[in-house]
Chain length 258, copies 2
DNA sequence: TAATAAATGTCGTTT
DNA sequence: AAACGACGTTTATTA
């Protein structure tokens, strides 16, 4: 018996049986066929007949894709439950989360193709150049900001949220850094202002504010200047490379010690 | 010749030929197989060998799904280009957007299943209970806010953005409404404040501010009170029903006239 | 559980 | 092309 089952144009009876065993065994399932979709939960939606790709994953996530667009037309996140039943001229597929009160009902008129698959995927996924990477890179190499910049805490909590990086500059002035992995908007500048204001509730202190980003949105520079903050151009790519270098250095050092 | 091609365990040579003609004919393509994925663009990522579902759509959108999680592990939005080539022991699939400088490279070691499909889906998709629906419902039935509320403009543009609804109340006081389809946060209250402040740049006027939402986040009520704004409980579902009623009434009226 | 902010966010709309 | 806000946003993190 093959671990994977694939069928072209199965009968609805046949399909329901295979799907039921697929659910039981927590397989990855692909259904291609003509269906209509009804959704009700936070919002509600209807979608008339058409040919779509339905993916049901072992973790309970579900995707219904039309032959266009990046996002699924309907979906459920992991943890959803699947129920299937044979109707007169169609298959009823119910994808639901009870607690959240979210339900998708798929009426499958006919199946073009059905796959019940036992997929193995344990590989690591590594994503670089996130905002967190930028933060790490600056902490590893504070001179990215300027010579003799000395971070004191990362992610310090103040009332409005978390400060990305806090530190002292060359002249021992408290410096607050707000990092953006892409264009820094006026909103981002206001965010920085909120953090600095919240540190200034008692006696007024001299606090520097620096926006770190690859570039600025229109109007951001004016806002930055009006608050006497500064903009420091750093790209996620730069940071990514610094992390790579530093990490390989750590490995090199390790072998040198050995 | 069938319009749809499905193949179990095709050879790499066979697969490349079928995929090439599939790209040419703008088909929907499903590839299930063992692959590794490399992405570089706004960020970058690596993903080692594993069995995944790859979907390529006629509009140039692409999805690479692991057998878990709701979001694709790698993707490209519509408008991407697909290129395929046969390597020694694998297939090289390149999914890229030149202008945006975003590239996915998929190294497909072996294909478990391949489908090249001509899917037809022209159905309408209707989503209800969006914020726009709530806005429409209030404009159709302004008494939802309170008796004798009279909207004057919807979506008026002021400096920080767009005001959801503007109008005059029973006492002819200018009233600004900010609509949220779910929990209204402190941020949303601040948004309303920005709009009202921007209308108050010249002479100070008496302006009412109302947050319309199904419920409030913690701290929002305090913020609302501190600005002397108000909270009006309205749910997206309520609005959805009003729209349905009003629209069916329009149809009824139409038939009555006829 | 709620709040908060990031995301390769994407997508639509308007300037 | 840039700015801005909605999205059934989802997801992760933290109080």
């Amino acid at each position: 018996m093959s671990k994977n089952v694939t069928l072209n144009n199965p009968s609805n009876v046949e399909a329901v049986n295979i799907l039921k065993s697929g659910f039981k065994d927590h397989r990855s399932i692909i259904i291609v066929g003509n269906c209509s979709v009804y959704y009700k939960g936070r919002a509600s939606s209807q979608l008339g007949d058409g040919e779509r790709i339905i993916i049901l994953k072992p973790d309970g996530s579900a995707l219904i894709h039309r032959p266009k667009d990046y996002p699924p037309v309907n979906w459920q996140p992991p943890g959803s439950l699947f129920r299937i039943k044979l109707d007169n001229d169609s298959i009823g597929l119910r994808i639901f989360r009870k607690k959240e009160n979210e339900v998708i009902e798929v009426k499958i008129m006919s199946i073009i193709f059905l796959a019940v698959l036992d997929l193995t995927d344990v590989a690591e996924f590594n994503l670089h150049a996130s905002e967190k990477d930028m933060q790490e890179a600056i902490l590893l190499q504070p001179s990215l900001i300027e010579d003799n910049f000395r971070p004191i805490t990362s992610e310090r909590h103040v009332e409005p949220g978390f400060i990305d990086i806090m530190g002292y500059d060359n002249k021992n002035v408290l410096t607050i850094i707000e990092i953006k992995r892409k264009k820094a908007t006026k909103k981002d500048v206001m965010q920085l202002k909120k953090y600095i204001d919240s540190l200034n509730v008692g006696e007024k202190r001299n606090i520097r504010g620096i926006i770190v980003a690859p570039y600025l949105a229109k109007g951001s520079q004016e806002l930055i200047s009006s608050f006497r903050y500064e903009f420091k151009l750093i790209t996620p790519q730069q940071c990514s490379e610094i992390l790579l270098k530093k990490k390989s250095k750590v490995i090199t050092d390790y072998f040198n010690i050995k």
